[in-house]
Symmetry: C2
Subunit: 214 residues, 2 copies
DNA sequence: GATGATTTGTACGTATGTATA
DNA sequence: ATATACATACGTACAAATCAT
């Protein structure tokens, strides 16, 4: 792995996790010192991150961590809902019998954390559940695009579960999705999944609004 | 505009248009000589293109133009159909009255090239038509994602119009989409648009298959 | 399989443009 | 408003790895 790869991966992780606040000026010199490299690999990393939209690159003025307004977040959830819905549509058409069983199984494993109200474990089980649907769609570009938007929303996705009653609602929505996919009812699977992810966004929205109050 | 921007844009254009064949080795030194710069801006450009998936970057072995199999193309059209459908869905909900009129106007301007069988002019008018729908959805991320997939398909998109009867069919499909958006019937707009783009892909597929025959 | 040529990955110096006092 | 300080954009140099003979 080249130094540029390493720096790029490290910065991506910190930005996505929110360790590097939006608007923060990313100074090439300081970063180079921090990673113990010259400025060249740092520059390459910043270029790649700019393409992903994680940093903004202003010519002659350096790079800053890209800021995300609440409006942008709402739009991203809307796009994600559409994309995950599409994946569910094709998954309902193309999943093998084994995959449908595995999905049902993953759903069952959400039950215990849901009744216990265990945020972290439910979040983990929820991610596995959605990943199975993604992989069932048999379309690498669709998967890639969906994961890209999901990555951007990762810091906010977990917020939703702090919203009262969200976990129970989420679990119930999963149930209906599993049934639709089992029956191969692709339009229904798409509708339900789109609504499900939109609910996630609305719940996250509420938490952001609550946080910004003094 | 920095030199890296210029090199990046130029290479992107040539790759997307197919002037640089897939698998072609992109030599940093030669490119630098060609653009009259040092290798540094060329390296930055290659890094950016790699993130877009237009070139493959093999460590210590340089960059090659990324190849696209027919299967990948089919998947991309499928993803594009889903995305453009989503845009149409939200456009039907959110477009202003003026925008709906403008869309109708753009559709009218497809008529003459369609009856004349003028590929190039129809292609141009078609692009404007679809762009209006995109912009009407009021979701920058969705627009961005859609344009990204469209860029990847650009070289193949034009192929469809060489398929017999495709222009007439395309024009008819537009008609129905315009009506659905005018009436604010978002599910219908989405369904029709998705089918429309899927037809584009099938037509392009046929042409690729025809081309590969001896 | 070894050696030479080519090419990549990295470091660093310089000039130019931006921000600040 | 001018000048100063500073960070970026680009070029050049060199070492290490790959490839071609």
């Amino acid at each position: 792995m080249s130094l540029a790869d390493h720096v790029s991966a490290a910065l991506e992780r910190e930005i996505v996790l929110g360790d590097l606040a939006p608007g923060l000026h990313l100074d090439e010199g300081s970063l180079a010192a921090r990673f113990g490299t010259s400025r060249t690999p740092v520059r390459e990393a910043l270029n790649r991150l700019a393409v992903c939209g994680l940093v903004e690159l202003r010519p002659r003025r350096g790079a800053v961590v890209a800021g995300v307004s609440e409006e942008v977040m709402t739009q991203r959830f809307e796009a994600l809902a559409g994309l995950e819905g599409l994946c569910a549509y094709y998954a309902a058409l193309r999943m093998t019998a084994e995959e449908r069983l595995a999905l049902h199984d993953a759903h069952r494993r959400c039950r215990a954390p849901a009744s216990a109200g265990d945020y972290l474990r439910y979040d983990a089980a929820d991610m596995i559940f959605h990943r199975l649907i993604l992989e069932g769609c048999r379309n690498d570009i669709l998967i890639e695009q969906t994961l890209a938007v999901r990555r951007l929303l990762k810091p906010w996705r977990r917020l939703q579960f702090y919203s009262a009653g969200r976990i129970e609602a989420s679990y119930g929505e999963h149930e209906a999705i599993v049934t639709a996919i089992r029956d191969g009812d692709s339009p229904q699977a798409e509708r339900l999944t789109r609504a499900h992810v939109n609910h996630q966004g609305q719940a996250a929205d509420r938490m952001v609004a609550a946080q910004s109050m003094p």
